[in-house]
């Protein structure tokens, strides 16, 4: 499943990038994040309780930041597993200066396996999109001293 879109944030690019690299602000923005421990190799061990409404599952996993090019872009690799199955994702996040703020564009491929894959296909796209949205909503609140979400969001519908 492809997950892609973009989001305009009202903060300078360097600030946005720094926040994205900050485990504390990430942990507060990631939906259902119960743990985000930086590891010696630069990755994070994460415990996420994610889902939509009452459909929630706890996933243990690893988040890795690769090919960091501050403040322009980085790649992100996520792996997790839980009772509902497993997920693997990899994508590129790039930041461009736009309209006095920052446009974050994300594009990635998520592979979902196990229970969730076999019972949830009709809602998967919408759920992924909603979680990304939740993340950015929360993340924009983490940005210091700027109006959250001052500029309209430009999220694109994902495509398969």
């Amino acid at each position: 499943m492809k997950v892609e879109g973009s989001r305009q944030l009202a903060a300078p690019r360097e600030v946005v990038y720094r926040c994205l690299m900050d485990p504390l602000s990430l942990a507060q923005a990631l939906p259902g994040c119960e743990k985000l421990d930086p590891q010696p190799d630069g990755s994070y061990q994460a415990t996420l309780k994610i889902g939509i409404a009452s459909i929630k599952g706890t996933y243990q996993g690893r988040v890795q930041i690769l090919d960091a090019l501050p403040p322009e872009s980085f790649r992100m690799k996520i792996e997790g597993k839980g009772a509902g199955g497993f997920l693997k994702g990899e994508g590129t996040i790039s930041l461009t200066v736009q309209n006095g703020g920052t446009l974050i564009s994300y594009s990635g491929e998520v592979q979902i396996g196990g229970m969730i894959a076999s019972v949830g296909q009709r809602m998967m796209q919408a759920a992924a999109q909603q979680m990304v949205q939740q993340f950015f909503d929360a993340f924009s609140h983490q940005l210091p001293a700027v109006q959250p979400d001052a500029v309209n969001s430009g999220g694109l519908p994902p495509s398969t």
Partner: protein
């Protein structure tokens, strides 16, 4: 297909139910007919610690008319709505919608309130409720409030209900003079859910122009929505076939469109415009005396 262990509660009054809902907070889950919740629990996708079964609250099972509103209790089953003579006369859209839901077993146990609170993106009731400009009553320990249908659906399976609130009733205006309504749907062959479902209520004025029109659409996006762009094109205008078609082409404007094994986003957009047009045509036919 066996749920994780949970505690079962069967409150005998709304008051008791509200107390339990507040007490258990995030760990509690309300159950009405159980037709959405139980399958999710059996798959262990949902694992609430406490299930609060509202099924005994017979006070929430009614269809009545008062003060110019039709009011329906949250625990009224799909079948009770399908077979209500009051609704058939004063709000035919509702029995028409009920008839399209699932199968006989689902209609006998599933409830209006349960379905609305669950807010499945392909459920039928949300489109009907939006088309009727209905209001939804939420009760909490602090009292009650009415939420406009337009404000009720917030996102994928997410509603405007706050923690501690119980959806208790839906009220809606009966069909006015020179008005018609309908619900049309394309069923997903496996689930019976709506690939697209469209509820329309349309009223004409003395000049036979469109005085009011409300269009609820389900199955297309992460939540049911009012096709506002279509409505705007039609309000105050004479309902010619061409105008209906042109307006209906905007049925999925601005909507983040679902895509699944059965139908791509592009096809869904197309279906939305076809079904909106057909529902408008049928509602118009019924509005014309």
């Amino acid at each position: 297909m066996i749920p994780e262990p949970f505690e079962y509660h069967s409150p005998q009054s709304l008051e008791e139910a509200l107390r339990l809902v507040t007490e258990f907070g995030e760990e509690g889950k309300m159950m009405a007919g159980g037709h959405s919740l139980l399958p999710m629990m059996k798959l262990r996708l949902a694992s609430p610690r406490h299930v609060i079964d509202l099924g005994r609250l017979s006070e929430l099972r009614y269809i009545r008319e008062s003060d110019g509103w039709i009011e329906i209790g949250a625990l009224t089953t799909h079948f009770q709505i399908e077979s209500s003579s009051l609704l058939r006369e004063k709000c035919p859209l509702l029995p028409e919608t009920a008839r399209e839901i699932g199968d006989a077993q689902v209609r006998n146990l599933g409830t209006l309130g349960g379905s609305l609170a669950h807010a499945d993106p392909a459920a039928d009731w949300p489109a009907a409720i939006l088309a009727l400009d209905a209001e939804i009553r939420a009760n909490s320990a602090g009292g009650e409030r009415w939420i406009a249908a337009q404000d009720f659906f917030v996102g994928l399976m997410t509603t405007a209900l706050a923690p501690g609130e119980i959806l208790t009733a839906v009220r809606l205006p009966p069909l006015p003079r020179r008005a018609g309504d309908t619900y049309l749907k394309l069923r997903q062959p496996a689930s019976g859910f709506a690939v697209v479902g469209v509820g329309v209520r349309l009223a004409l004025n003395e000049a036979a122009h469109i005085e009011r029109v409300a269009i609820g659409v389900t199955g297309i996006g992460p939540k049911a929505y009012r096709a506002a762009a279509v409505e705007r094109e039609l309000l105050g205008k004479p309902p010619t076939a061409r105008r209906l078609a042109e307006a209906a082409a905007r049925a999925a404007d601005g909507v983040q469109t679902n895509s699944d094994l059965f139908a791509s986003a592009e096809y869904r957009k197309h279906l939305a415009s076809v079904y909106v047009r057909r529902a408008l045509e049928l509602a118009l036919e019924r509005a014309n005396p």
